[in-house]
C-alpha cells in the first residue's frame, strides 16, 4: 500500500485541508510510513471477531424529552468569527451539499 501524491491530495480534499505541493511531497512518505506500520493489523486473523467500539458496552443511554438551558445568543455569536443580523456569516458557498 502506497499513497501517491494525487491520493494525498484527494484525502486532503476530503479532510478539507489546503495543502501545497511541498506539503504533499513531505506528507506522502510520512503517511506511507505510518500506514505501513499500521498495516500490521492485517497480520491478525480476525475474521468473524466482533468489533469493539465501547470498551464497556452500555445500551439505550437515552434522555427524557425535557428542554434545558440554551446559550445566550450574544454569547453564541461572540464565538463566531463573523456574525450579522443575529446570524453567523460565511463566505459564498460553492458546493451544494
Amino acid at each position: 500500500m502506497s499513497l501517491t501524491p494525487d491520493e494525498v491530495r484527494h484525502v486532503a480534499m476530503l479532510a478539507r485541508l489546503a495543502v501545497t505541493d511541498d506539503e504533499v511531497a513531505a506528507l506522502a512518505p510520512e503517511l506511507n510510513a505510518i500506514l505501513g506500520y499500521a498495516e500490521q493489523v492485517g497480520e491478525v486473523a480476525a475474521h468473524g471477531i466482533p468489533t469493539t467500539v465501547h470498551p464497556i458496552p452500555l445500551t439505550n443511554v437515552l434522555r427524557e424529552d425535557v428542554p434545558g438551558e440554551v446559550l445566550d445568543r450574544e454569547e453564541l455569536l461572540a464565538q463566531a468569527p463573523a456574525a450579522e443580523d443575529d446570524r453567523i456569516v460565511v463566505p459564498r458557498i460553492v458546493s451544494e451539499d
Binding site: V53, R63, L76, D85, I88
Partner: protein, 519 residues
Amino acid sequence: MTEMITYTRKDGVTEPLTDERIGWQLDGYRLVVGLEVHVELTELKTKMFSSDPIDFGGDPNTRVGPVTAGLPGSLPVANKQGVRSAALMGLALDCGIAGTCEFHRKNYFYPDLPKNYQISQYEIPLCHDGFLDVVVDPDPAYGDEGDEPIGRRVRIERVHMEEDTAKSSHSGDTGRLHGADKSFIDLNRAGIPLLECVSRPDVRTPEEAQAYVRELIAVVRAIGISDARMEEGSIRCDANVSVHIPGEPLGTRTEIKNLNSVRSIGRSIAYEAERQVRAIQAGETIVMETRHWDESAGVTATLRRKETLADYRFFPDPDLTPIVHTDQQIEELRAGLPELPKQARARLAEAGIAADIVITLVDNDLVPWLDDAVAAGADASTAANWITGELLGACAAAELDVHACGLSGTWMGQLAGLVADRTLSNKLAKQVLQVALKQGGDRSPSEVAEAEGLQQVSDEGALQAIVDQVIARNAKTVEDIRGGNAKAIGALVGQVMGATKGQADPKLTNQLLQRAING
C-alpha cells in the same frame, strides 16, 4: 416480504404490476421512482441529541446550546421520545424493528452542519423492510378497473433517525445560493430530530408518488409524531427518477431535491421523466446528478454532478450507545399504535362512506373529526358529507386551515344533527357554518342559529297561518294549480319563504300548501 411490485384491484385482489398496467409511459419508456422523505419530529420538545428546545418560529440562534453549536467538548445524548417516534413510524409502515442498532457519523463538510458530520444511521437502521399501501386516485390508465381508486404497494427500504441541519440563507436578490456573495447561518434547526423514510424504487407514475407522500403524511399525523406540513419544511421529499424501456436495464437516475409540496412532487417527476426520455431520444446520456425543481418555471435544473460518489466515511459514533429493543418492547409499541389511515379507510368504507370522501377525510387528517361528529350523534355519511363538502369548501374559500378554523368534529356533528332534526334547512346550516367560521367555534351551532335568527320554522300551527294568508291572497294561482299547473306551487312556496325570511321548513310548507289547495 415479497420482492414483487404489486397493485391491488378494486375487488381487493392483489396482482403483480405488469408493464402493461403501468400508468405512465412515453414512447415505450416507463418511469421508475424511489422517494426519500424526511419527517421532522415537530411534536417533540427537544432536539435529537441535546436538550436544546424545539420551538419553531423563534428568533435566529436562540435554540442553541453547546451540542447544537458543535462546541468543543460537547456530547450528544439521544432523545428517548425521538427513538420511540421512529419505532412507531417503522411499525406503522410494517417495518421490522432492529433488536440492536447504532448511530453512525456521516462525515462531510458543509456550513449548515456545525460538527461537519451528521449523526445518522447507516448499516443497521432502526426500521427496515416495510411497505406502504397507497390509494391512487382515479387513473383510467390502469385498465379495466374504470375510474375507481386502486391500491399500490410501495416497499419501504428503511426508516432511520438523524439530526437536521442548520438553516442557511443567502445574500442577494434571489436569496438563492447561486449569485450570493455570502450566506447566513441560523442554528435553530440544527439537531431537530428527523426520520428519513426511504422507499424502494416501486413508484411508477407521478400520481403514485403524490399518493405515496400523501399517505405517508397521513400516517405521520395519525401517529402524532409531526405536524407534517410540507410547506413549512417539516416534511421534505427527494425523488430519484429514471426511465427505461421494459425488459432493459434501469436507466441512470437523477435526484430531484427538496420538493416542498405534493403538487410539485407530481409536476417535477412528470417533467423530469419526459426530459429524460427526450434527452435519450436525442442521443444524450443521462448523468447521475442532483436537480433543483423550479416551481414557477416548471422545470428541473442541474444542481450538482455526482462525478465521484460522495465518500461519507461512515463509522459508528463513539459518543453514543447502541439502541436495543426487545421483542416485548416492540410488541408493546405495536399494541399502542393508534388507528392508521388504512385501517380508518377500511372502517369508513364499512360504514358506507363513499370512497372519494374517505380519501379526502384521510388526506386531510379529518377522520377524528368524523368520529367526533358521530359521537355527537350525527349520521356518519351525512357528517362526512358536511365535513368534506361544506366545511373544507368554506375553509378553502376563506383561505383557512381546517385544523385552525376554530370548529371541531363535535361541532360539525351537532350541525349535521340540526339538519337531521329539521331545526335547520341545508341552506340555513350553511349560513350557520359561515357565521361560525367568522366568529370561531365558541358557540354551538344551535346557539349561533338562535343568535342569528336562523332557526327553521317547523311549527305546523305557525306555518298554517302563513299558508292560509298566502292562499287567500293568491286565488288565481290556486285555481291554476287546481287546473293542472302543478309547477305554479313554487310561487306560493316562495311567498311563504319570503314571509318567514327563508326559515320555513320547505318540506312542511309544501305539504301544507298541497293540503290547502287539493284538500
